[in-house]
Symmetry: C2
Subunit: 163 residues, 2 copies
């Protein structure tokens, strides 16, 4: 169950995201997984991702730039939303029709400078689970210190975005 990343279950034509698409060779290719599944209370389930930003994504030398942090939180959020949608419907991740989410709103608080050269850990928690809307609260840590907190309000991808 935990072997395949959420993003690797996206349909091929929806896998070009610079932040997390396996079909974007230039991008970050973030990979998110279940950390814990609570079948009795889905809101208690958590997701996890690890990522080492490339050294070009500098803010000032030694620190990761905010756009990278926002991007990781964004993609972990939409990935977690998709996985939760499948889980809550009792469907296998990636089965068709695809449950792919986009970001309606992204809020990030930068709590401490995020050091470069350190693998970052993202943990996702759920504060709302609806069929077409999932809210994911995310922490981003480096060396076990929370550097940023974010919230992703993810909405089921509208048909207009799928060709």
């Amino acid at each position: 169950m935990n072997k395949k990343a959420f993003q690797d279950c996206y349909p091929e034509e929806l896998s070009h995201c610079y932040g997390c698409g396996k079909n974007n060779p230039d991008g970050h290719q973030l990979k998110s997984f279940w950390q814990h599944i609570d079948q009795n209370n889905l809101l208690e389930s958590t997701t996890i991702a690890h990522h080492m930003p490339d050294k070009v994504y500098t803010a000032i030398p030694g620190f990761v730039y905010g756009g990278m942090i926002a991007s990781l939180i964004d993609c972990h959020g939409t990935g977690s939303a998709s996985a939760m949608a499948y889980l809550s419907q009792g469907r296998e991740m990636g089965s068709l029709p695809a449950l792919r989410f986009v970001t309606g709103a992204l809020n990030v608080s930068f709590l401490a400078p995020t050091p470069q050269g350190v693998e970052l850990e993202l943990i996702g928690r759920f504060s709302e689970i609806k069929e077409r809307k999932v809210i994911v609260d995310i922490t981003l840590s480096a060396n076990d210190i929370i550097c940023a907190k974010g919230q992703v309000i993810a909405v089921l991808m509208p048909d207009s975005m799928v060709k």
Copy 2:
């Protein structure tokens, strides 16, 4: 006054940001300018930036990915905050000691898919101007349609981030 981009006035050692640093050859190198200065009411002043995202920054084919949009809003926000700090103190942009801002919080609402292959326009407005904190509200438009709105709570860079 409007000839030199805000980001090109940052100190050399603080010009490596992937989003806007002139010393980061891999990055976006966003350039922000004054659109309008109201000396009688600084809150009525506005800033502007234009940027054409590289084609690699895909969400799904045809659309710009959210991390890129967040990054542009973030860097236009901190740049606008810096420019406003200089303006409000009656100092020349870039004069020392540097007034460089970092992001305390970034909130982005994605209102419509942002098309690729279109020059994006960012407009910044100010809702709070304090010595160490400036709040910038930003719209991001493509083809005169607002695709995203954001707010950047920018704070004067702490000494701990400057080596």
